[in-house]
Assembly symmetry: C2
Homo-oligomer: 191 residues x 2
């Protein structure tokens, strides 16, 4: 550990998230997390005050990344390109954040009961506001929500089973772009 600070905290986050995605938030006990980490429960409590706190820390991490997109989008003002916004969201959904989004999408009821005033969800609300033209018709509203779902679902191996993993993000992106674009108009995928 020369110069290296303890990385236990990050390891807890990572393993907890893995288990949450695998078997759900409620079903995953601190004992399980501790076992897989090969420490005791008490050690967890040194790093996180409660189980909810682990989730909160996970959200803070990603909320920061969402903020960057939000800041960019607000700078654009009225000239905001929704296509470009979706492109940026697609990048947000890829990479190291993949499991968090699956966690959110597949544990909705469990999460809604967390006492946390969820810092991620309020930001996603803001994203939807930007994605939907003001006073958009309900169809457009629904399509915007689905665009986000498409991005996340595209990373789920069970959904695009016979598509090589490296191709999935682009498939998801194309479908998402179709959903936010007026029908009939073609869209371009920027990479």
């Amino acid at each position: 550990m020369a110069g290296r600070r303890s990385d236990t905290r990050e390891r807890i986050q990572q393993i907890a998230l893995d288990l949450f995605v695998e078997q759900g938030y409620e079903k995953t006990s601190l004992r399980e997390i501790a076992e897989r980490l090969e420490v005791t429960k008490a050690a967890l409590y040194y790093h996180f005050r409660t189980k909810e706190d682990i989730v909160r820390s996970l959200f803070e991490d990603i909320a920061e990344a969402v903020d960057e997109v939000l800041d960019w989008a607000r700078e654009q003002g009225e000239g905001l390109s929704r296509t470009e916004l979706v492109n940026r969201l697609a990048q947000l959904v890829r990479g190291r954040f993949v499991p968090i989004w699956r966690f959110v999408q597949e544990n909705q009821t469990a999460l809604k009961e967390l006492h946390v005033s969820n810092p991620l969800m309020s930001r996603m609300q803001a994203i939807f506001q930007l994605l939907c033209p003001k006073g958009a018709d309900p169809e457009t509203q629904l399509r915007s929500r689905l665009a986000l779902v498409a991005l996340v679902m595209g990373n789920n191996p069970e959904v695009l089973a016979d598509t090589p993993e490296e191709d999935r993000p682009e498939v998801a992106l194309r479908v998402a772009l179709q959903l936010v674009s007026p029908r009939g108009r073609e869209v371009e995928t920027a990479t």
Copy 2:
């Protein structure tokens, strides 16, 4: 209550489902269900051997309805109209089955851990097979999944907040039909 035969079993199903949707499957205890029913836990165990059994019974109920659609679709053979299939699915998603679909969609990880060899999910797999032309490209596959999501999400009051409840199903149906139809072609909504 006068002259009424015991409908306790159905009341358990209904209340359990309400709670599952409200706060998630794992978080909902038999004690809570019993309390809201104003009976004791032991009474529940007379009707259902385990907590999982309640879920199983919920699924059997709806699986029957899915089977009717599957039977119809298979009768159509190669001439199956995917538009009409979506129309029938839309009706399946409406009415008394609304909460079950929300339950499934918002408790995915919790459900996947149930020891039940889920009779609903295998049927939904079959639906997807019918919805997707054989060997469909991944985009089409994803869009088919999203069509189902659209139907369910349309019933979620939080998604289409400012749309009157009676209009939501039709909005969802239109979006779902767009998703299964080749781009650019207009679709008709049969009611």
